[in-house]
């Protein structure tokens, strides 16, 4: 192996280890790794910039702007309180309703945003019921990761896969992933009800208090609400038609974001741009350059060839290897760098003669997104919810979460294994 390739592997492994250790912010580490790839001459600046997937970046920025403005309308709180009232204030039914709403919202928005919008109102509801919010919070974490798996825009791994493989359109993601996600959410929520039903008990007076809440008061700005929902709906329709319209998904998301800013006026501009998670955006940029170093030095090609050798070129074995490896890896390390590495590897497998890559892409999407449910550090949404719970005085320890999350994650991967095998292999 050439020196350049060895340098690239060294930089990649050190960067990856530092990301996993969480000693230094992952964005700083990823950007430093990317810069080192250029500084050591493994990539020139032009090539590095060329490898930054602007479609992924644009899609993330566009959706963050759209959601930050829509979040200010109070519509998500309205939905949560309305659901709690529809459940008659019954704590177990509320768990089901909130989980389903979280899954649906996560399919259309990103998971972190969804939980940040749903969790505060969950605390309010749990407080009114005088029950622990922990069962709701754990259910919402799991539902957000499962729901986000269903669409191209639901979870960063899917955004990256959709962006890297133009044939996998928004509708293709729904057509291929939504059915299995539907099954997983039903099974998961049923099990969560079984697990938590004894903890979620509230007297009639408390349930009545929930019914007496006024959800309409949560809608703070009706004009903004109408504009936001109209643009959000247009954007989602745009995603559905992006291939017909010959537009990349980033163009659709950014069009939606700036149309909304055009309609709402300048007063939302600065705030919306401030709320874009720039740390996440730069994390992606660093990773794209980091992985580019491995691609340009031929490391990814070698790894792909090794994987084909290991599985004897058998598509079923490769799909299962990717599904299980990505789920276990995503439970313990950030799924974004993992997927960033796997995408060029799967593409390389295509170049090496594997003709049907579709099962591999869906295996990667299912494994990387659902794997996040395995531990408290498996996905960003988990970390955010655990942090918010701790602030409120509710500690969800690594083990406490693991005992619920990991078995449910394994179950979801077993369901996915059956699905991928029966549908594609």
């Amino acid at each position: 192996m050439e020196n350049q390739a060895l340098f690239a592997i060294g930089i990649f492994l050190v960067t990856y280890a530092l990301i996993v250790s969480e000693k230094i912010h992952r964005t700083i580490v990823a950007m430093a790794g990317g810069i080192l790839m250029v500084a050591f001459g493994i990539l020139d600046q032009e090539t590095a910039i060329h490898h930054i997937d602007l479609n992924t970046i644009g899609l993330l920025v566009g959706m963050m702007i759209l959601v930050s403005i829509t979040g200010q309308t109070g519509v998500f709180k309205y939905l949560a309180i309305k659901a709690a009232k529809q459940a008659g204030g019954h704590p177990v039914k509320i768990l089901v309703y909130l989980s389903v709403i979280t899954a649906l919202l996560s399919a259309l928005l990103d998971n972190v945003t969804t939980v940040m919008l749903i969790v505060p109102v969950t605390f309010s509801i749990a407080r009114q019921l005088k029950v622990s919010p922990i069962p709701y919070l754990i259910s919402e974490i799991i539902a957000s990761n499962v729901g986000g798996t269903a669409t191209l825009i639901g979870d960063p791994p899917n955004i990256m896969i959709g962006s890297a493989v133009p044939e996998l359109t928004f509708m293709e993601f729904i057509y291929n992933l939504a059915p299995v996600v539907g099954v997983i959410i039903v099974v998961t929520v049923a099990l969560l009800v079984l697990i938590y039903r004894k903890q979620l008990v509230a007297d009639q007076e408390r349930q009545q208090l929930i019914i007496s809440l006024n959800e309409n008061d949560e809608l703070q700005d009706m004009r903004l609400l109408k504009k936001s929902l109209a643009v959000l709906a247009l954007t989602i329709i745009g995603f559905g038609l992006h291939q017909v319209l010959h537009l990349e998904s980033a163009t659709v998301a950014l069009s939606g974001a700036f149309l909304l800013l055009l309609l709402t006026g300048e007063r939302y501009l600065e705030q919306a741009l401030e709320r874009v998670e720039w740390t996440t955006i730069f994390f992606f940029i660093g990773l794209f350059v980091l992985v580019a170093g491995l691609m340009e030095t031929g490391v990814i090609s070698k790894l792909a060839a090794e994987a084909i050798d290991l599985t004897g070129g058998d598509l079923s074995a490769m799909a299962m290897l990717i599904l299980w490896m990505s789920s276990i890896a995503s439970a313990f390390v950030d799924n974004i760098p993992f997927v960033a590495t796997m995408i060029p590897m799967i593409k390389e497998m295509g170049a090496l003669g594997i003709t049907n890559l579709e099962p591999l892409w869906w295996s990667l999407a299912l494994g990387a997104c659902l794997g996040g449910n395995g531990t408290v550090i498996g996905a960003s949404a988990n970390v955010i919810v655990i942090g918010l719970a701790a602030k409120e005085g509710y500690k969800i320890s690594f083990v406490k979460y693991l005992l619920i999350g990991f078995p449910l994650m394994i179950l979801s991967i077993l369901i996915s294994t059956a699905y991928v095998y029966l549908r594609y292999l």
Partner: protein, 93 residues
């Protein structure tokens, strides 16, 4: 125990301490005060801390604010800032 002084023709405030927080129950009779309370709510809901105060409204237009223990002082200052209370005093009981 803290007593809040305000115009009783405009609103009433009832504060109770619970295990996890202080719960403020506002009954508002004046549109201006309601507008100011909504401004206060917008401020705490748009800050960086998502769990400092949880507001909900009841159908009888009572406003309930669950305030985290360590945010109570700041919340009281916000009540002053938005002109919802005029003074506070310590109840000797």
């Amino acid at each position: 125990m803290v007593c809040y002084e305000y115009d009783k023709s405009e609103l009433t405030i009832l504060e109770t301490k619970t295990e996890s927080d202080y719960e403020f129950c506002f009954q508002i009779f004046d549109e201006q005060v309601l507008r100011r309370l909504k401004q206060l709510r917008a401020e705490v809901e748009n800050n960086d801390d998502l769990t400092d105060v949880h507001f909900v409204t009841k159908l009888d237009h009572q406003y309930l604010a669950g305030v985290r223990h360590n945010f109570r002082l700041e919340f009281i200052l916000l009540l002053f800032k938005y002109g919802i209370i005029n003074a506070i005093s310590r109840n000797q009981e």
